[in-house]
Symmetry: C2
Subunit: 331 residues, 2 copies
């Protein structure tokens, strides 16, 4: 694009977020496994956000948003909607600040995630996803109670927090030819693009999506906000219907492109991270590696950073995921 | 003890091993997870050797022994006996040096470990563990072929290599009040004690063993080499019958004591590392954390290093291990 639009989040916001959240978060390792690099002929470095507190990068954005609350907002409490990692991140970020948190969750949310939110002391409001809209329930409660809404991705404070992952990756592991991040609502991808393009202007940034939930890839290609409805992908973190008003412009301006991956490709990359790299990852956490494997010919001999977004997987489902991985065929 | 005996391995040997193997091995992270520290009120740092090449610390000792071969030894090849992690480590360390490796393995070895050895291009000689002795088979082949035997733990070059794990832990993570390592044949524990007592003389070193395979704990207590036969523990890396002539003196001289842990305690610690810390670990890899949990009252408020020894677990067995973890009761 020839004209630069004013984006909601700048690299200065990411730097400020880092100073703000650094004492509260984990600083997961940047992992370079020679065996993995040898297989693909690519110098792969993993940013292990599965080792982040609450098991995903979401704790970064949640922590930044919590730190930026005004004292009276903090005392009235926060509310969010999410069935997954953002819910756990908000619950825990609120808990350690003695702030009350309410989470609007679907009544069919995985038991393990409900338990995680409950363990962090948050109040759970259940709704029926077939008949009710989570955002309107959340906003209604916020109006009635004065609680502050911290949405899962479409918020500048959240995006700035997510940008600290790529910031740590680059500061600790050096230069890259490309950095790949999974894309759901685009919070992580936006933050990754902001940090990367500021620190390494030559470095490419790609979003990776399940082909069954390719709304962002289509939005990027058509320059129009597209959405998907009830996408059927094992990568539950990428089931978000669309990018948001804050993330879409960042993606359009700073991201170089999108890769889409099939379900067997995701499961195959997931099995590789678990069996070979010894990292517990959830399906969404393997999406960016799946994208790299799909495009490995293009990145031969290059150095590529991979954001492993999270590790909150239901281990009882591993046999199911591994059966899916068996359907993977090298392309 | 008042009199210092001359041990087979010194800290200088560990430092030399580090220089020798450093370019060839992974340098796994030292992981401090605040949530884990909070639970026990102990500042716990994990040395993640499950992220080492071939999935365990064994690659350190194997690499050091391989580097120290004379040219003609290297050209004649190496041989070892092991059903598990040492076999895979030798196979891979030989492969990357274009050296032929033979591994004597029981005919009931786990398929996943046989596959790992085969993938690294080693020759496998199977034997019947009920009727045959693996060491004599190994030594016979070595005599017939001129191959050099690299035993799994009872060898100064192997012990010196294993000592580099604690060396990295201390150099990267700083001072500790105690460091805990699992104990099978004592190679890792000996190396850990040598590095720790040289760098941090005040720091305690404890070996941790399954109570069903407590030969080293009994050897330490009685000052006499004790052994166990066919111990029934899920921690297959600790099923070794006894310490060896090189490891026993080091353990007697430098280790401060032993903790023993039950099978449910091992499975409970294993589940914690997998579910909470998002690390894929094998049962033996969780043994030292199990020891710390069992002794948590004693280490309250202290800083303790935990060597997570390996991650080569048969994932199909997770439900079985987790069922065992359900039997864990807090003491």
């Amino acid at each position: 694009m020839n004209t630069k639009h004013a984006l909601s989040v700048t690299f200065d916001d990411v730097l400020a977020a880092r100073d703000r959240i650094s004492p509260h978060i984990n600083h997961p390792p940047q992992l370079r496994l020679p065996a993995l690099c040898d297989i693909f002929g690519i110098d792969v470095v993993l940013q292990c956000e599965n080792l982040q507190q609450t098991g995903s990068f979401k704790f970064r954005g949640a922590s930044n948003a919590m730190e930026l609350l005004l004292p009276d907002q903090r005392s009235r409490g926060v509310i969010t909607y999410s069935s997954g990692n953002h819910a756990q991140a908000i619950a825990r970020a609120a808990q350690i600040r003695n702030t009350a948190a309410t989470v609007v969750m679907p009544d069919n949310a995985p038991a393990v995630k409900v338990a995680g939110v409950r363990r962090a002391g948050a109040t759970i409001v259940q709704y029926n996803p077939a008949t009710e809209d989570r955002e309107s329930i959340c906003n209604q409660i916020a109006r009635d109670t004065g609680k502050t809404v911290i949405p899962p991705y479409n918020h500048p404070h959240v995006i700035a927090g997510q940008g600290t992952a790529a910031l740590e990756l680059i500061e600790n592991a050096g230069s890259f030819d490309a950095i790949l991040a999974p894309c759901g609502g685009g919070g992580l991808l936006s933050g990754t693009a902001i940090s990367t393009k500021s620190l390494l202007p030559h470095c490419k940034v790609y979003g990776v999506e399940p082909s069954q939930a390719d709304d962002a890839a289509r939005s990027f290609a058509t320059r129009t906000l597209c959405s998907v409805h009830h996408p059927q992908t094992i990568a539950d973190g990428a089931r978000t219907p669309s990018l948001g008003e804050h993330t879409f412009p960042v993606v359009m301006e700073l991201v170089d492109g999108f890769y889409t991956v099939t379900e067997p490709q995701i499961a195959h990359a997931m099995r590789m991270l678990i069996e070979m790299c010894k990292l517990v990852v959830e399906p969404t956490g393997a999406v960016s590696l799946a994208g790299l494997i799909a495009q490995r010919a293009h990145w031969q001999g290059k150095r590529v950073g991979i954001v492993v977004s999270g590790g909150n997987v239901d281990l009882a489902k591993l046999p199911e995921y591994f059966a899916l991985a068996d359907q993977y065929r090298e392309t």
